[in-house]
């Protein structure tokens, strides 16, 4: 019986994975995400309406709308091939496949329950790792790329020409991103500040927002773009260096805290797999339940305390 349920769940998960991979492609073919900037349909609401609507977002509703906030979305939604909604779709599909395989292979509901959360968590972890790697590479190249563009502009080229002259000598991912930027400015007839703003919307890194805001201020007060970019390059480099240093200094502490916070759960699970009878009273007796509540409370307090300390360090 469990095998049949497992097969069903895995099949539904696989089907969902295929359908949710096709949906964004169809959506992209139907709409132009830059309509708000070309002026053809007019408003940012039109661009928002053209955005890919993930079926998982609709299914999970308010909880995931919450998860789609800054911390989650901003870190994951990077790269030209990366769409937040499709990550959610993939997580749900992987979760169903995980439960199905857990039931088929192991035939144990507990392992299936672990895979229900473990499989999407792994997908999320891999996505975060990929996003972080992209961000790190991009930010390493950004200040130098800006400096090169500004020096080309100082030699008398306009912004688009300077981009065209500079990008062939750069490496990915900044090369691809700057080529997109140049194409966008030419196709949509927007100013440099507007193009940077669009870029900052797509890749929501604070550094891009800083550049777009500084360019907008420069436009209003009448500063030369090349001088502005040259000044900003140094500032951005300093900001990035500061952030990276902080991350390097706190990463060890963060890692240790995370591992230790999961230690009680991992330990109990390990004992359960070795001798289930030894752990069962924890869930079937009054003292056992009280123990779980108190230990859970201590774990929550410890996590809250850790988060508070880390917040102060990172502030």
């Amino acid at each position: 019986m469990l095998t049949i349920i497992g097969l069903g769940l895995a099949a539904v998960g696989a089907l969902y994975l295929i359908v949710s991979a096709i949906l964004p492609i169809l959506q992209q073919a139907r709409s132009d995400p830059y309509t708000a900037y070309t002026g053809s349909t007019g408003t940012a609401a039109a661009a928002e309406a053209a955005r890919y609507r993930s079926p998982t977002e609709a299914i999970l509703g308010v909880f995931w709308r919450g998860m789609g906030s800054s911390n989650f979305k901003r870190r994951v939604d990077v790269g030209p091939d990366f769409i937040f909604g499709s990550l959610l779709d993939r997580m749900l599909a992987v979760s169903l496949i995980g439960v199905g395989l857990g039931l088929i292979i192991f035939g144990q509901p507990l392992i299936a329950a672990i895979l229900l959360f473990g499989a999407p968590a792994l997908t999320y972890f891999l996505a975060i790792r990929r996003a972080k790697a992209y961000e790190a590479r991009f930010l390493l190249q950004l200040p130098n790329a800006i400096l090169l563009v500004s020096s080309a502009m100082a030699a008398g080229r306009n912004f688009v020409n300077a981009l065209q002259a500079t990008t062939p000598n750069l490496a990915d991912p900044i090369k691809g991103e700057l080529e997109h930027l140049g194409n966008r400015i030419q196709a949509l007839r927007v100013t440099e500040a507007q193009a940077f703003e669009m870029w900052a919307e797509r890749l929501p890194y604070p550094e891009l927002h800083t550049i777009s805001s500084a360019l907008a201020i420069g436009n209003q007060v009448g500063l030369e773009t090349y001088a502005l970019l040259r000044s900003l390059s140094g500032s951005i480099q300093d900001e990035i260096r500061g952030r990276n240093e902080l991350e390097a200094l706190t990463s060890q502490v963060k890692g240790t805290a995370t591992v230790i916070s999961y230690l009680p759960v991992i330990f109990v699970l390990l004992i359960y797999f070795v001798t289930p009878k030894f752990v069962t009273p924890l869930f079937t007796t009054f003292i056992g339940i009280v123990t779980i509540v108190i230990a859970g409370g201590m774990n929550y307090l410890s996590r809250w305390w850790t988060a508070r300390i880390l917040k102060r360090i990172e502030a």
């Binding site: 906030s69 200094l249 230790i260 009054f286 307090l301 102060r312």
Partner: protein, 297 residues
């Protein structure tokens, strides 16, 4: 169904409800944060936490003794630094203290009851009340510290942006541009208050900035205030270079501070780590106790 099973079901049900409520509350907070980010507004979570606690405690009386304790301490200054002094009075803080004393004390007593020990009940109850009394101090201090840290963190870039603007315009306009284009920053909000005073109360900008420095008591802001003062009184010659060199200084200072804090972190993390290890030991001890009980039967 016997009493033990009912008790187990009751506890499991209670924990489940707490977890579900927790998930919904966190999701709603995240949604609010995302909404603020989307429109470029400041989302100050710690400030909101203080305001939430105030509204939860507003039905309670403000005990005069607590009010005096709050007045004589550091809290009024911290309320200013956390930007909540307009909304939260010292009486409100006294109410918050009473509320947390009741909640934490009650939780301590409940824990004692669960462990079937009158002595532990009294001890945990007293410890909970003491913890509850200091609870609002910690929340307000956290809000103040984090807000001032955010101000300091945004300052180097702000000085550079204002420095770029003063090349072609006045420092007042530079600050106004910063407030307009970096509206998601706490510093922009603070500078916006100063601008508001200039527009609405017809104050001079240097006076409004001095008021800002007095409110925040953040030493890092002093150079910007001094630069505004100089620009207002003698005109801002070489202001751009000065602002940029100050920005570099502030970055070096911040780097050193971060290093210091990061080096202290492992020591500070010892206590939460110990708490987790204690939870693990508690589970193992309880399992051993249950097994010995079973064997004795």
């Amino acid at each position: 169904m016997d009493v033990t099973t009912l008790a187990i079901l009751g506890i499991v049900f209670l924990v489940l409800i707490l977890v579900i409520v927790g998930i919904i509350v966190r999701a709603r907070r995240r949604a609010a944060k995302a909404a603020a980010f989307a429109v470029g507004e400041v989302y100050d979570e710690d400030k909101k936490r203080v305001l939430r606690l105030r509204s939860q405690a507003k039905m309670l009386p403000a005990i005069p003794l607590f009010v005096q304790v709050v007045k004589r301490g550091d809290l009024p200054r911290q309320l200013d630094q956390a930007d909540v002094s307009h909304d939260v009075s010292v009486e409100d803080v006294a109410r918050m203290k009473l509320l947390l004393m009741m909640i934490m004390g009650g939780a301590g007593v409940l824990l004692g009851v669960m462990l079937f020990s009158p002595l532990l009940m009294v001890l945990f109850g007293a410890a909970g009340m003491a913890l509850g009394f200091t609870g609002p101090d910690s929340t307000i201090k956290q809000a103040a510290t984090i807000r001032q840290a955010k101000v300091s963190r945004a300052l180097p870039l702000a000085l550079e942006v204002i420095g770029l603007a003063v090349e072609r315009t006045s420092i007042d306009a530079g600050i106004a541009y910063y407030c307009q284009f970096f509206s998601g920053e706490v510093l922009a909000q603070e500078l916006g208050y100063a601008n508001q005073r200039v527009v609405q109360l017809k104050e001079r900008l240097d006076v409004a900035m001095s008021e800002l420095l007095h409110k925040n008591r953040n030493d890092d802001l002093s150079f910007l205030v001094a630069a505004v003062g100089q620009a207002t009184q003698v005109g801002g010659r070489d202001l751009k270079a000065m602002l940029q060199s100050q920005s570099t200084e502030l970055r070096i200072k911040r780097e050193q501070e971060v290093k210091g804090r990061a080096l202290r972190a492992p020591v500070l993390m010892t206590f939460p780590t110990l708490l987790n290890m204690l939870a693990l030991l508690f589970i193992l001890g309880s399992l051993a106790f249950l097994q010995i009980g079973n064997a004795a039967k």
